[in-house]
């Protein structure tokens, strides 16, 4: 998990510029900021890898791949396949 504290610079419709105490400058989508922030606000951002969700997505993708194989890659006559 990564957690950082940032100061919010001027905010426009799509992007805000955030700065860290050690002078990193980061363009950040406005839509991901809390509504109450304005220039000079301080935010904490934390980013966590969602292993669970990642696994789910991979499994879903695998199952789609098996469907495609079953539907279009099998030698016999086409089987009816359950749509997702």
């Amino acid at each position: 998990m990564v957690e950082v504290s940032l100061t919010v610079g001027k905010v426009d419709a799509s992007l805000a510029i955030l700065t860290t105490a050690d002078h990193y400058v980061i363009e950040f989508p406005t839509v991901l900021l809390p509504e109450s922030v304005e220039a000079g606000s301080v935010v904490t951002i934390n980013v966590e890898q969602d292993i669970e969700q990642e696994k789910k997505q991979k499994e879903k993708f695998q199952s789609v791949q098996e469907q495609i194989l079953a539907k279009y890659g099998s030698d016999g006559p086409k089987q009816p396949v359950l749509q997702l």
Partner: protein, 646 residues
Amino acid sequence: MPLSQDSIPEVVEETPGQALNERIIKLSDPDFVGSLGPQDLVTIVKHDSQKKTVGSFFYVAGLDTSDPTGIAIWLKDVIECLQEKPQLWFGKNVKFSVESISFTTWNIFSQCDMTVKVHLPGTIETSFVNKQGKKLEFGEDETNMAWGEAFLSGKMRDLMCMVENRDDGEVINVVETRIYNPLLTGQLDSVHDMFIGLFPLFFGRGAEVGCPCIYGNMPSTLTNNYLVETLCEIVRLTKSIDLCLPMLEELKVAFGPLLNIVIARIYLTNDRELDGVKLIHDSLHEISDPTYQCELLLLQGKYLLEHNDPQLALEASQRGVDLTPNAFMPWFYLVRSYIALGDNKNALLSLNSLPMNLASLAQKYQYRRIMNTDGNNATVELHLPLPLDVVLDEVTNLNSLLVMDEHKVVDPVLYNLKSANLKNTFQWIYELLCEIVKNLGWEKLLQLRAELFLMEEEYDHLDTTSETESEKVVTRDIKGKRLCERWFDNLFMLLYDDLRVHSQWQSGELKPKTTLEWELVGLCCFRLRQFESAKIAFQNGLQIRFSSQSSRKLLQILLKEQKSNPSEDIDLEIIATCVKLCCWSHRWYAEFSMLLLDAMSIVVEDLGTTRVDNEVNSRFPASVSKLFHDNILEFFKTYTNEYYDE
């Protein structure tokens, strides 16, 4: 068709040698050379009977450049043509004798120009010049390798020029170019054999030669580049899968599972769909790099869309977007899937998220002039003879003054449709937007757009006039909506103009009179995916006179109809249209068109070559029929590995 005086265009030089000098100077300009290099150049020095020296040049494409001797033989053919009788030269008959003639071709791999020069009576010399204009000396092995490279370079240019300009009807803007069919002109071996034979030596360098922009902004990789693209096109056209597959399998030993991307593509484009689907499935486990995975997913997505399975296509393209969201193509397929599923909201949202700014930078390969023949340089003289060996009156003798008159009187409403000028990715995206408006109607589309997007102007306006406090309010208000990208917003305006023209024509308010006006109406309908209306418009226009663009577009519509609802009548109409286009190409010194080959491959597969030959014979003059046989049917008979029935 054999060479004749009236099948060779020429541009007169101000001083003999000018064109080749200018070309060498321009080699240092990366814009001029581009990825694939300039097309081949022929320059001529000849004397008239008063010993006045004339320098001239023309461009040529499609020749086999694997062997300087073969090139020299062709150059001698050109000399013979020019000398056999007086040339009709700017209104006079002039008896020329040729002093020298040269042929120059760009070698992409060694980045040098290779020139064969014939001095009369008989010396032949070859020379190589690099980008800085310096002469290069090659040893014997190097020289042999360099001619092999020249062969591959030439074939890539010949085929990619057609492939990249397919959307625009293969229009070659450099009229002083003689274009041969690159698949017919092999000197020793057939072209496809030679290409497949040389391919493994250069596969590892494929990423260097750049990549086609027909896939948006996909990066050059080992498996996505002009070399691989040319291979796939050659195999597809010449049906050389049996020769190609073992070669690729052997490469796989050295380069690993990446080769499966090419192999799967060869399967899918050569009637081996089952194998292709399986291979993609297995390779997705073996290949982990996101860029290459995305290439696989694109093959899969395209296949699924073609098989009308948008639900699965959506899944495949969504994965492509997830892995490489900077790439245009997976987004494009994602939108197509949403449209096919009737999910217009997600179609619009993903259209707006397409990485358009990156994708629109891709430059397609096009022929370039060494010296401009238009614009300021008023001194350039073009000798553009009319080939008289094949005459189809309505095509060959089309009066260009008449066409220019039509341009002068055209209804401005039709003339100023900006959507007609959209290129590449913008053109494709516009097509999708038209698809959506066709399903949804204009009013509902606008309503949906207003629900989803805040217009950028709207926001800008607020931004400049507001003080901080009101700005804050705006920022909050729009959080539910997204900014509509400016390019996307512009497309809506173009769409509005097209729709207006369409409805004015439907209501009878707009009445096309000339072929040009019918063509513009037809193109507008075509963009709007109103193919039946478009067909009517093109056909109305073509009843008045021939038009190559109307014919090409009509051909596309006929091919769609033939696919969805096959009939022999349509086959016959396709034949007639192709014959006329073939005559038109011939009149402009071009004997090769992939559009025509692709169209005719479908008809030939239906009817067989003999039947098609007979149909053409019975409907067209003998010279036309012979042309069509030599340029089109002969290809299917002799150069396609006996794939097609007689």
